[in-house]
Symmetry: C2
Subunit: 243 residues, 2 copies
């Protein structure tokens, strides 16, 4: 194991994080191996237990390591990739990879949205939008919190029970004839708030990725606007880009 | 202004953050408007100055607000988008948008890399790779820290001064006949470390985005592997995805 450099400007916990990551990259530590104890890290590097904990908890939150109560800390197996290319929803991608994907509708309501969102989905400011909040699960584990805004006039008679039963893209396509052709997604790093942390069952101060997605038909009509927060400890987000 | 809900599970600072963001989205606050003072937020919501500061500093770090010494806190103009679609480097994208983009080579060295990187760029484990560390600036402002790893046998006679003068993609293409056809990029949220914070001149605990990019030729030969950290307070990262 490489030693931390105490005179470096890079904080010690960040150096230790990098050292552990290197040991995994170098296969000195393999999936499900237990890592050295906190005590061993402290003794080897002559650093405080607090520093070691910070490094380890950061890696746990990133999904590089995992903990088992009373047993220790272990190297997590490699994360599967979410492919962000193409237009398939992540649900479709995960299902193709053989995962069991579940969606739970948390709320379905007609609400006044912000001017920004009204402009995006093309409704007059002050008029109500349909807002759908969804919880997404992969193999029974929470992986995303989504809020979808759509124009009620574009989707007459849409009800919560329809949305419970079928994928939104299928409803847009099959019931309303709106065929998704492309999306624009803005990706932003976020700190998860208490509600998100509880939903994902994560501790300390985990980070997540927020995607703000606008989906369009071939003739540039907006189908939906969605804000999603994803955990990043279980999956990688990969983009495949071509000329 | 909407009031914070004290009995909510969402932390007060996060609620205040959302309220300010809404006021901007709703155009109650416009670009370069000064926002209410800390004192006004405290009095209106009956919350502590600490809470108000946390909300405001988070929004400053995200680039939603900006501060001017002795003058106050203002709404930042909208961030330009970095288009992540297509294969053009961000530099090319920014130049097309009329920005002045500068690159500074921080180091150019032959180093032993991790097994993982050796596998990716296709060199035997333990053999040295060329590692190039670059600082990127837009309109004189730091915007990215990049580390590139390449196979020295693929790029004989490559020197630091060549790399100083020309874009890497141009060198790969024109000098070595390796034409970039597609990339795979993994995107991860990160906390900026002290070195990164200093480089970007950011305070407190800003987040950033890390992109790990592998670039391939049409026949799937790896051209380069790059790890980049970008600030997110000045630009948005947008992906355009088609079926």
């Amino acid at each position: 194991m490489r030693r931390v450099q105490k005179q470096s400007r890079i904080p010690i916990y960040a150096q230790l994080q990098e050292i552990i990551t290197e040991m995994i990259d170098n296969e000195e530590l393999q999936a499900h191996d237990s890592i050295p104890t906190e005590h061993e890290f402290c003794a080897f590097h002559d650093i405080s237990r607090m520093t070691v904990r910070t490094a380890i908890m950061t890696l746990v939150n990133e999904g590089v390591l995992y903990r088992e109560q009373g047993k220790g800390t272990f190297v997590a197996p490699k994360k599967p990739n979410y492919q962000l290319s193409g237009l398939k929803g992540l649900t479709a991608v995960m299902e193709e990879l053989g995962y069991d994907v579940q969606t739970k509708i948390q709320s379905f309501a007609h609400v006044v949205c912000s001017k920004k969102i009204a402009h995006i989905i093309g409704i007059p400011v002050g008029q109500k939008a349909i807002r759908i909040q969804r919880l997404r699960f992969v193999d029974k584990e929470a992986y995303a919190l989504e809020t979808v805004w759509i124009d009620p006039e574009q989707y007459p008679n849409l009800t919560e029970s329809t949305v419970e039963a079928t994928s939104l893209y299928d409803i847009f396509r099959d019931t309303y004839g709106l065929i998704p052709a492309y999306t624009r997604q803005i990706v932003t790093p976020v700190r998860l708030n208490d509600v998100e942390k509880e939903f994902f069952a994560l501790m300390d101060e985990p980070l997540g990725l927020m995607f703000e997605r606008t989906t369009y038909t071939e003739d540039d009509k907006v189908i939906e606007y969605t804000k999603s927060v994803y955990r990043v400890d279980k999956h990688q987000f990969e983009m495949y880009l071509q000329i």
